[in-house]
Symmetry: C2
Subunit: 410 residues, 2 copies
């Protein structure tokens, strides 16, 4: 493999032109789209329109005239197409944590005789926190059981109300078999909740085909919705009538503008709304999703796999002697769209890389994460990133303080 | 009173120049700042900077380098100055409903032996919904007791864990005596939670001087933070160590970036954060608050009272024969910064007024609400609004369908 070969791959890339839709400073190689997706030109346009025309001139009238009031449902329907869900099964609201709380509490109450929320120890920490908070709040002997990944299936017993899993591991990039685990959970009489934060916009999803009950995910990673973009939740149509959100906010009321003193949950997915949606953030997310809907998803997933295969190959070829090892699964069918590279000096190396314009991130204790985002990452970016990685480590050019003295890095 | 006299009042207004900071179409008289505050030029500038420079070029680095990670606390501290609270007692997060949930559940669990959340029947409906949801979720014989306003004090018995009130009534504009009711609640051993959504940026507030325990409020009304702006919550410093949020999200963790599997609540007000904040919306709110901090608050409250006194006087003088009556308290010291005007055809009149460029809003069954926002409403706006109101009704120029066929109006 050579840099010239990467240039040729980019020329042949059917998604090559999509990169022009994004604002990417020429000097930066951005491989952190799994933490914060890049800004697109359509997002700039839509946020400015919302700001200046809709808020500035339309003022309060824009709730109706600019369709703000319908945005959570409308954007949810757009997202449904990416998730393999039906219109009316997805809604955009709040952040991932709040949405998790809604579905965890709702699901726990649907199976009151089953006290366990089952998950794996490797799951995203905030998912563990939220589940622990729900169990603490609801009491009644409920518990969160976090087991090693290999013990998930055997742990699915008659006490499990809900299996909660992050579909793609935020550290290693390991991707669960959604269909098989969902089936196993159903076989044990449990519901399933998938956190898709590292999946949507990164790997193929088909929630309906996998008979998934519940899902949440965030808008600011591969979806490119902007920093702290609104998150989403999915409730399978068959569960919608019986399940409720514990957050009885007015936007989820059957008739919010009647100002009735009594709460009545809205029909279908609308009941999972709570307060007023942040429209500037919604506008950026909607523009980003429109861009996603303009590409062929199969082509995007194919490119995502080709990029990560290239990265792994280059790290193997050039990095093994320098102490690097690939911490992600080598089988692309059980891997998300980021690759984790292990190195004892991972934190300081990543600081040095960022200083040299290659932006990835670090997860303790020793993982560097590099995300391959099919809409704007080029094959030549992967080559150049590995080139600089090798340069930094071969020259021991990492002068950052050790991890214990770090700043917050998201 | 004449239009010319209003022009003179505007010329003498020490806040007159502040209006130039706002984007207000010359053809519109905007009296709906209690639903959605107007857009300011600093907000445009700050949102664009966040969008294009911080997200677009800074990308993930902006969480540290542009101070995103500190925004909830930093903006909360700015807001504290408007609320009469100390730095570290206010945080900006989520929406009002979610924040209410956090504090309602937290407070209910601080007083487990007291099963009642006391409020008034006239309170903002979503506050009733959220409280009913908390009671439904926590069980244990808890209940929401909503009594008429006149029975609040006598209802403060030993079973009340929390008195929850909207400080300024969203319909009539009636303003509670925060100090006296807080004292009465404390005397009965209860905590107090004030919803300041219709107060902050509208009336003087001094949470510390009133010994208030808890408060929430929204950012998009008088504060001018933008549609669906992030909301805020206040927890008195003396309650911070003992109370917890039920939403154990990672942003409220003591060390969110350690990715520990175990939740540990952050110190002080930080524990009330949950998920990742929507930065575009945060930027607009921060710019709007900076504008608030640039004015003398006493001058603003004085102007607010003068504007509403003028509106009431003009409605009395010119509207009484046309079936109008003022539904707000006449004493400015028990009134917020909007005036409710009652008319049996209120809904259709408001539609006609909006069509003529006077934007207020309507609350069922028969209240027109007109907000007097001290930063951008002129005395001559009040004159012109009443002029058109009289014109519409005298000419019976309201052709909108009746209320039952309305669109959603926020």
């Amino acid at each position: 493999m050579t840099r010239d070969a990467c240039v040729l791959l980019d020329r042949a890339d059917p998604l090559g032109a999509m990169r022009d839709q994004f604002v990417l400073d020429g000097g930066v190689i951005y491989l952190d789209g799994n933490s914060l997706g890049a800004l697109s030109h359509p997002a700039i346009k839509q946020v400015r329109a919302l700001l200046e025309a809709e808020w500035g001139r339309g003022l309060i009238r824009s709730w109706n005239e600019a369709g703000w009031i319908d945005a959570p449902r409308r954007i949810g329907d757009k997202l449904a197409a990416l998730l393999g869900a039906d219109p009316g099964e997805v809604i955009v609201a709040d952040n991932t944590s709040v949405n998790l709380f809604k579905l965890l509490a709702g699901a726990a109450r649907l199976r009151p005789e089953r006290p366990v929320i089952l998950t794996e120890v490797e799951t995203f920490p905030t998912d563990l926190y939220l589940a622990a908070g729900v169990v603490d709040l609801l009491g009644g002997g409920r518990e969160v059981r976090a087991v090693p990944r290999t013990e998930l299936r055997e742990s699915l017993d008659g006490r499990v109300a809900l299996l909660m899993l992050t579909h793609v591991d935020y550290c290693s990039g390991y991707m669960h078999d959604m269909r098989a685990l969902t089936e196993a959970a159903h076989h044990a009489g449990a519901l399933v909740l998938w956190d898709l934060s590292h999946s949507a916009g990164a790997v193929p999803l088909n929630l309906n085909a996998c008979a998934v009950d519940l899902a949440v995910g965030c808008g600011y990673k591969y979806l490119n919705g902007g920093p702290g973009a609104p998150a989403y939740l999915y409730v399978s149509r068959h569960l919608q009538p019986e399940m409720r959100s514990p957050l009885w906010g007015w936007m989820g009321h059957a008739s919010p503008f009647d100002f009735s003193p009594t709460y009545a949950p809205g029909d279908g997915i609308a009941r999972y709304l709570c307060g007023t949606p942040p429209m500037l953030a919604m506008a950026a997310l909607e523009a980003a999703l429109d861009l996603w809907l303009s590409v062929d998803l199969e082509t995007a997933w194919r490119k995502s796999r080709a990029l990560s295969e290239l990265l792994i190959r280059l790290v193997d070829e050039r990095g093994a002697d320098l102490g690097f090892s690939v911490a992600s699964p080598r089988d692309p069918w059980v891997r998300g769209s980021h690759v984790a590279i292990r190195h004892p000096e991972g934190y300081r190396i990543m600081r040095a890389l960022i200083a040299r314009g290659v932006i990835g991130d670090f997860r303790p204790p020793d993982l560097m994460r590099l995300a391959l985002t099919p809409l704007y990452t080029r094959f030549v970016d992967v080559w150049d990133a590995v080139d600089r990685l090798v340069e930094v480590v071969a020259g021991r050019a990492y002068e950052a303080p050790p991890y214990a003295q770090r700043l917050a890095v998201t």
